[in-house]
């Protein structure tokens, strides 16, 4: 039973470029949340996808967008990259909805913006 898988593991981009990160949820999970974790900080909620719709969004600009596919996998897109976007991007999956669901995290994508 595969857990949450993310790709790529590491990525180096330059300012102004665009990036796409991918996530496959744990088997049986249909909800995907994305988090940004800067070095030494706690994960910051970007948004959550359920039934292919963005269900909730954190305090991130429109440069951050996402998508969920019918197989529940998800993508995070970031446009016009800034140096401050350098961080570990974590994908977490859970069973449908509910505020009592625990999250299963992937190993993350380490994004460096130069």
């Amino acid at each position: 039973d595969a857990g949450v898988t993310q790709s790529p593991t590491h990525l180096i981009k330059t300012r102004g470029q665009q990036v796409t990160l991918r996530c496959s949820p744990k088997s049986g999970h249909d909800t995907v949340s994305w988090y940004q974790q800067a070095l030494g900080q706690g994960p910051q909620f970007i948004f959550q996808y359920y039934e292919e719709e963005e269900r909730q969004r954190g305090n991130f600009p429109d440069r951050f967008s996402g998508h969920q596919f019918p197989n529940y996998s998800s993508e995070l897109n970031v446009n016009a990259l800034l140096l401050g976007d350098s961080a570990l991007y974590l994908c977490a999956s859970s069973m449908a909805s509910g505020p009592n669901e625990k999250l299963f995290f992937g190993s993350g994508t380490q994004l460096s913006v130069l």
Binding site: S33, Y35, G40, Q41, G42, P43, Q44, F45, Q48, Y50, R55, Q56, G58, N59, L90, S97, G98, P99, N100, K102, L103, F104, F105, G106, S107, G108
Partner: protein
């Protein structure tokens, strides 16, 4: 918006000493969850507390949820080197599906 704060930010202990981290939310939480992130790793779920005043134990770890459901604590008895990592609390508010994380407490254990 909802904010979750943790103290201390860092804690160095000698192996065998106890450790406690405290978590406070700016708003009432529907539940509190705790995660552990090993160096270079990703957060791993430890436990969830739902009821006001709830206390749960996992071996040497004791978790408490405050009566007002706005604060929580994690206490580790007789730390071991395997306890090294960053401990995060995270809470769901009463509206929405956003799990908000605290800044974490990084625990370092000297053998």
């Amino acid at each position: 918006g909802q904010q979750v704060m943790q103290i201390p930010q860092y804690q160095h202990v000698q192996e065998g000493e106890d450790f406690t981290t405290y978590c406070n939310s700016s708003t009432t939480l529907s539940n509190i969850q705790w995660y552990k992130q090993r160096p270079g790793g990703h957060p791993v779920f430890l436990i969830q507390l739902v009821k006001s005043g709830e206390v749960k134990k996992q071996k040497r770890l004791t978790f408490q949820f405050g009566e007002a459901k706005k604060n929580s604590s994690l206490h580790i008895t007789a730390t071991q080197t395997t306890d090294v990592g960053t401990y995060f609390c995270a809470g769901y508010g009463n509206a929405g599906n956003m799990l908000t994380f605290g800044g974490g407490t990084r625990l370092m254990v000297k053998p």
